[in-house]
């Protein structure tokens, strides 16, 4: 499986994703610049955290207009795995690949700490190696992570089992339904505020994020059928 990590101007967790896949999982991974127009030859694409375009205007609002975006949308439409963490999640919502929006945290501050999550849906290509309702600990590091969607969208997300991760004890940002991560209806696009790529080595505090990448890699190049 060949995975692209997209580098936008201002991305800064690109190295975290790259090293999680390369050094820890020994996966076939490459950086791809936002200038590029094609993702031909890649089986999955990942959007890293950071501050694309300095979060100017709104987090993710400018990155969705970059050259690479149509290629990412194409992969999503083909059913290939598309993953966004933190700023990557924000970009996916801005691009309309995932419903809802991420607002400024309730506390109005940037928050960096490791917190407990519940795996709500373990039937996606990203979460098969987790148990349903399993508690895991992942780091968060964001100022704009308060998930918002209208009631109808929230009902649909719940009904279709699109909520993949929920904040388990403390809701650090005011997200509705304690949502920490969601997939699209088809299940091949995952966006989440926590950073699984920062939790792949016990040396750094937690390796609970490792199985997300392992789930995906074990899945090989299979597409998610519509």
């Amino acid at each position: 499986m060949r995975i692209a990590v997209v580098v936008f101007p201002g991305s800064n967790c690109d190295i975290d994703l790259y090293e999680a896949l390369h050094s820890v999982c020994q996966a076939d991974v490459e950086y791809v610049s936002h200038h590029e127009k094609s993702l031909a030859g890649f089986d999955a694409v990942m959007l890293p955290g950071g501050f694309s375009y300095g979060d100017y205007l709104r987090a993710g609002a400018i990155a969705r207009f970059t050259n690479i975006m149509p290629a990412i949308i194409k992969m999503a439409n083909e059913g290939k795995p598309v993953f966004g963490t933190c700023n990557g999640f924000q970009i996916l919502t801005e691009a309309g690949l995932l419903p809802g929006a991420l607002k400024r945290n309730d506390c109005q501050r940037f928050v960096c700490k490791t917190i407990p999550l519940e795996v709500v849906n373990n039937e996606t290509v990203f979460t098969r190696q987790y148990q349903k309702h399993e508690r895991i600990a992942l780091p968060i590091a964001h100022a704009d992570g308060s998930y918002y969607a209208d009631q109808k969208t929230l009902d649909q997300l719940e009904e279709n089992h699109q909520v993949v991760f929920r904040y388990a004890e403390e809701n650090p940002n005011g997200s509705l339904h304690n949502i920490a991560g969601i997939v699209n209806e088809r299940g091949n696009v995952l966006g989440m505020m926590p950073h699984p790529e920062r939790a792949v080595e016990a040396l750094l505090g937690s390796s609970d994020g490792l199985r997300l990448f392992k789930s995906l890699l074990a899945n090989g190049t299979a597409k998610v059928e519509a």
């Binding site: 201002g10 967790c13 190295i15 300095g54 920062r198 750094l204």
Partner: protein, 743 residues
């Protein structure tokens, strides 16, 4: 463009006095260096370059006391940052810088641009910044909404800049004392990693080579920031906002990536590179030309400008952020331009290296400056300074030492844990991304931050430490304590101290008592640097930290970096297993002068700070480190503010363990004594005997780690029996609560 005044008008009206250039200096420049009257632009350039901030003219004689070489030092003071060999062809690059005046006037931008400036110093050397630290000293926050806001905005400024840059903030210190009420201290430190082959210099050589300007456009912000930093505060200049710069971390992130790509992939195109820091274009260009012993001609009309009709003086002295100056080999200007264009940045040739040694500027087609390069950089008159021992120190020596009366040691401990300087800082440091780049082994809230070096077994430990109270009471001993405290934090993490950077924060050095404080505290620091073989490889001096004539405590900040040889031997600062034996390393004396206990009980600090045997402390610290490196130690925590009592509680926070200790050799007061060079160490029971043997008389076994979450201490004249959860709750809630307190 017409000059604002003629040379004769300048001589007569003396506007340079407002720019902190003295009449004697002006006369020396006119009569000796130039042999004519300088014009308006030239006078402005001299006043900035001859400011203390750029020239260190007052502090230089004192700075010479510091050792700055050993076998590992690859680059000492004088370049963007110091460089130290960490084996395998790798080097660590670090420096700290103060941004006290801007942060006092405009905390958010002052702190943010402080981070921005120090990061540029690191990547201008060719290193990628891998971690940031800070050292913040605020006034008291209880019921002071203005100071509370300054704390909030300073922290937000540091966070917003560092987080956006994607550089983890892994350690630091935050203290509170009334002496910083009118002049807060914001010192930022950055640590970078590089291959030794990529080391860059701020130099400009090769006749015909290009001087290229890269990064953000030049505006009118921060003009005379350097001289602003070199004068006292008063209510009058509390409104000097225009001297404070505005930061754009997104621009800096792009600049970082573009510069590192140029440095590491195209070393043959680049001759030299330097950050445009204090005094903007003039300092970077003049220092590069002086370093290369070259002449330089710049055309200011080519400088990218954000505002119309800027004068030559404004362009040269602007401290707009996120700019760098490069010297590029002739013929590669377009190549360099292409790299920066990929990142959406400007790269413009604004001048050339010339034969001879003249510094020539053109603006609007006219020559506006023509002076010898070295007149700006090397010919600065060093200032003789008068010094005198402060009367308070003589007086204190004649007074009997203060002896604390402790009635209930448990209650005293509860109260100490709620002192703002001791209380939990997580509400502040959780606003910093401490994990980005996924190398953070130990983040904020421990003795030192530890970063692993990917692809090796090595790691780097780092800390910032400064305690103005000890230095105020005894500059020389206080200077030693600052260094020992930093070394203790590094060694408690299992690392070997490599070298230090510093920020020397003092009041107005024209006051002989303040210069004496500077001189004697540097003497103490230098002695300790020699003992620990930790040379000073970079740093800065921040004088004139006063408000309405009230100086801060002399507060030298030590930023130390240590090398972890095996990342698996990083030692945690909290207890690990029930049954582990507990040792106190280092002897406890009656050291209450300048302690948190004294501050809490008397509202003030006074007395004589006891001197101590540096060599002895270093010697047993080395033995302790050797024990750690062989894996015999489960946890180690350095004792600092609040003494043993506070350190014991901290050892248990965030665990579910307890301690049961027999401290019959200590009084309840000594539980809070702040004797330097002490540690609380836990050792697995089966290793305790050999540990005790290695440490000999310098360690005493006092009990063991227990499964009950209680702190139980039996002292010579009392007991402590405290529920740890309750202690932790008080410690955690104190600072958020005080930051909201209202009368």
């Amino acid at each position: 463009m017409k000059q604002a005044m003629t040379p004769e008008e300048i001589k007569e009206k003396k506007p340079y006095l407002d720019w902190s250039l003295s009449e004697a200096e002006y006369n020396y420049i006119s009569e000796t260096l130039l042999g004519r009257l300088p014009n308006y632009t030239e006078t402005g350039l001299f006043s900035a370059m001859w400011s203390e901030h750029c020239s260190y003219k007052k502090s230089k004689p004192v700075l010479r006391l510091f050792p700055n070489k050993n076998s590992r030092v690859l680059q000492g003071p004088g370049e963007g940052a110091g460089v130290v060999d960490i084996d395998d062809g790798q080097a660590v690059v670090f420096k700290a810088e103060s941004h006290n005046h801007p942060t006092t006037v405009e905390p958010y931008q002052g702190a943010a641009t402080g981070i921005g400036g120090i990061l540029r110093d690191i990547f201008s050397m060719g290193a990628r910044p891998i971690a940031s630290l800070d050292s913040l000293h605020f006034g008291e926050i209880k019921n002071d909404s203005q100071m509370q806001m300054k704390v909030e905005n300073t922290v937000r400024g540091i966070g917003d800049y560092g987080n956006c840059m994607g550089i983890p903030t892994v350690a630091g210190e935050t203290t509170f004392d009334p002496c910083y009420q009118g002049n807060i201290l914001c010192n930022a430190m950055s640590v970078g990693l590089m291959e030794q082959k990529d080391i860059q210099k701020g130099t400009a050589t090769g006749i015909g080579n290009a001087v290229m300007y890269v990064g953000a456009k030049t505006g009118r912000d921060g003009i005379h920031g350097a001289t602003f930093a070199s004068a006292d505060f008063s209510d009058e200049n509390a409104t000097q906002r225009s001297a404070v710069q505005v930061g754009d971390p997104f621009m800096e992130k792009l600049l970082l990536e573009a510069c590192l790509e140029l440095i590491t992939e195209h070393p043959d195109w680049l001759v030299g590179i330097q950050d445009m820091g204090a005094a903007g274009i003039v300092s970077s260009s003049a220092e590069m030309a002086a370093e290369g012993k070259s002449g330089m001609t710049l055309n200011l009309d080519l400088v990218p400008q954000r505002e119309p009709e800027m004068s030559a003086y404004e362009i040269m002295l602007s401290e707009s952020q996120e700019r760098m100056l490069l010297c590029v080999n002739k013929g590669h200007e377009d190549d360099v331009q292409k790299i920066f264009a990929f990142y959406g940045l400007e790269a413009v040739t604004i001048g050339r290296i010339t034969a001879g040694h003249d510094y020539v500027l053109f603006h609007d087609g006219q020559e506006v400056c023509h002076i010898p390069v070295t007149s700006l950089t090397d010919d600065v008159l060093e200032e003789e300074s008068a010094e005198k021992m402060p009367a308070r120190i003589e007086k204190a020596a004649a007074m009997p030492a203060w002896q604390p009366q402790i009635i209930d040691a448990g209650e005293t401990l509860r109260q100490l844990l709620q002192q703002s300087t001791i209380a939990d800082k997580s509400s502040l440091y959780q606003q910093y991304d401490s994990q980005v780049r996924t190398n953070t082994v130990v983040g904020p809230g421990s003795d030192a931050g530890v970063i692993r070096i990917r692809g090796t077994r090595k790691g780097l430990a780092m800390t910032t430490d400064g305690n103005g109270r000890f230095v105020y009471l005894n500059p020389e001993v206080g200077g030693k304590i600052a260094l020992v405290e930093a070394a203790a934090n590094i060694m408690a993490s299992g690392a070997e101290p490599l070298a230090i950077t510093d920020c020397l924060n003092y009041g107005d050095p024209h006051d002989p008592e303040i210069f004496w404080e500077l001189h004697h505290s540097v003497q103490g620091m230098a002695a300790a640097c020699r003992e620990f073989d930790t040379p000073v490889i970079s740093g800065n001096v921040s004088l004139y930290n006063e408000n309405n004539g009230q100086a801060i405590h002399p507060t030298p900040m030590v930023g130390m970096v240590g090398l972890v040889k095996d990342i698996d031997h990083v030692i945690p600062s909290f207890a690990q297993h029930a049954g582990d034996q507990v040792f106190i390393v280092g002897k406890t004396g009656d050291d209450y002068a300048g302690s948190e206990l004294q501050k809490m009980l008397t509202g003030n600090i006074s007395g004589v700070v006891n001197d101590f045997d540096l060599h002895h402390v270093h010697e047993y610290m080395r033995r302790l480190l050797a024990e750690m490196q062989t894996g015999r130690v489960a946890s180690a925590h350095d004792l600092s503010e609040g003494g043993l009592g506070v350190a014991l509680a901290e050892t248990l926070f965030k665990t579910d363990l307890g301690l049961d200790l027999n401290l019959g050799h200590m009084t309840t007061a000594q539980l809070f004594s702040e004797t330097p060079g002490r540690f609380i160490v836990t050792v697995p029971a089966d290793q305790a005997e050999s540990f005790a043997q290695s440490l000999g008389d310098d360690a005493v076994c006092v009990g063991e780690v227990t499964n009950s979450h209680w702190l139980a201490l039996r002292l010579a004249n009392g007991e402590v029996y405290q529920n740890v959860s309750e202690l932790q709750q008080r410690w955690e809630e104190a600072l958020p609560c005080q930051l909201k307190s209202r009368d």
